[in-house]
Amino acid sequence: MATTTTSDGKLLGLWASPYTTRVQLALKLKSIEYELIQENLQNKSELLLQTNPVHKKVPVFIHGDKPICESLIIIQYIDDTWTNGPSILPSDPYDRAMARFWAAYIDDKWFPLLKELGGAQGDEARASIVEKIFEGLVLLEEAFVKCSKGKALFGGDNVGYLDIALGCFLGWIKATEIMTGIKWLDETKTPGLVGWAERISSDSSIKDVLPEAQKLVELYTMSAGLEKGASN
């Protein structure tokens, strides 16, 4: 196991970014020491521009002198490199394919809906997005039932790839619940996910890494206010 008292790597990220949270969750699972460098997206550091010249985005994980970009790719790299700790991806190839499929679905289809909701104009547009978000959650509930195979987490007994891929959004899911008054994780609609969310939020390796919903609400309100102020 890569044991070192100095940090094993640097993580360029943002406390509010669920993609940064994702990588932090994986690092915590593997007990990897790292230095977290908070970026300012309005003023990106030289290091960020140098290590992610293509997208100029966080998170970037720098292991030694090697930069790795894209949160899910970073997690797979961490899993491939630190093999002594608990495995993040399932061992069975089909289970791995399922985990990768649903993680991609979350990133490509589901989470963008939450972001879209923020910019929606008019009741009809909002209602349509809300409906899609709930439909997505029903799909994720089905995925949970299949992947967990009766256990507590997507990864079974232990936190795994899909627990991290979805769990990183719990702060924002709660924050959006607070801001819209809509209960996304509803026991009557998606009981599996509700139980899972409670377990994840109280898991010792997870809870200190997830950003607090209230802080995210404050951040969102402040940046929305700034945008309004700028356009006046």
Partner: protein, 227 residues
């Protein structure tokens, strides 16, 4: 050895469908190629990919696997015949995955944008973006190939498949738009690689012939204009 009850649901023109077919060829795994009818979706497709209803889908025994790059990784993990498709080094794997994602999220949409661009200026701008992307990929090729013929080194690998599947579409776009995208002067390594990739044993029978693909593209364009 894993049971070889493998089906691929797809269509001959689709670059995404080419990907798992190349991977299965590398592993010498026989499969049944079930071609979807263009314009309609079979019950089997709707059942095995209810979320996206898209090709390709691989059905291994009873299990459907969707999303072309996820299918390629699955194939690599199940069969160890032939050669490894993903690099063995974790960092090389991360780099290969990074560029494959870039190709799908940024580069190929840029290529499609050329044929949709209206007016000479828009077409030129779209083409320049694609060429700029190819310059990035040229750089990636130099780093990944480490002096060998393919992104994967001596043999074709993940990134070769991820990019190579678009070569026929690239050629059709060049011919129909009367533009040069893959330029021997700007991206000499990629230029050479394109030919090697296209003639590789695992690729040549599944890469659509340019003329045939161009006819298909013209039918698609005519249909979209009519609707």
């Amino acid at each position: 050895m894993a049971s070889e009850d493998v089906k691929i649901l797809g269509g001959w023109p689709s670059p995404y469908v080419m990907r798992p077919r190349i991977a299965l060829n590398i592993k010498s795994v026989n499969y049944e190629f079930l071609q979807e009818q263009f314009g309609s979706k079979s019950d089997l497709l709707l059942k095995s990919n209810p979320v996206y209803k898209k090709i390709p889908v691989m059905i291994h025994g009873e299990k459907p696997i969707c999303e072309s790059l996820i299918i390629v990784q699955y194939i690599d993990e199940v069969w160890d015949s032939g050669h490894s498709i993903l690099p063995s080094d974790p960092y090389d794997r991360a780099v290969a995955k990074f560029w494959a994602t870039y190709i799908d999220d940024k580069w190929f949409p840029g290529l499609r944008a050329i044929s949709r661009a209206e007016g000479e200026d828009a077409k030129k701008e779209a083409a320049e973006e694609v060429i700029a992307g190819l310059v990035l990929l040229e750089d990636a090729f130099i780093k990944c190939s480490k002096g060998k013929s393919f992104f994967g080194g001596e043999k074709i690998g993940y990134l070769d498949i991820a990019l190579g599947c678009f070569l026929a579409s690239l050629t059709v776009t060049e011919k129909m738009g009367n533009i040069k995208l893959l330029d021997e002067n700007k991206t000499p390594n990629l230029f050479k690689w394109a030919e090697k990739f296209s003639s590789d044993a695992a690729v040549k029978d599944v890469m659509p012939e340019t003329g045939k693909l161009m006819d298909f593209a013209k039918v698609l364009i005519a249909k979209s204009k009519a609707s």
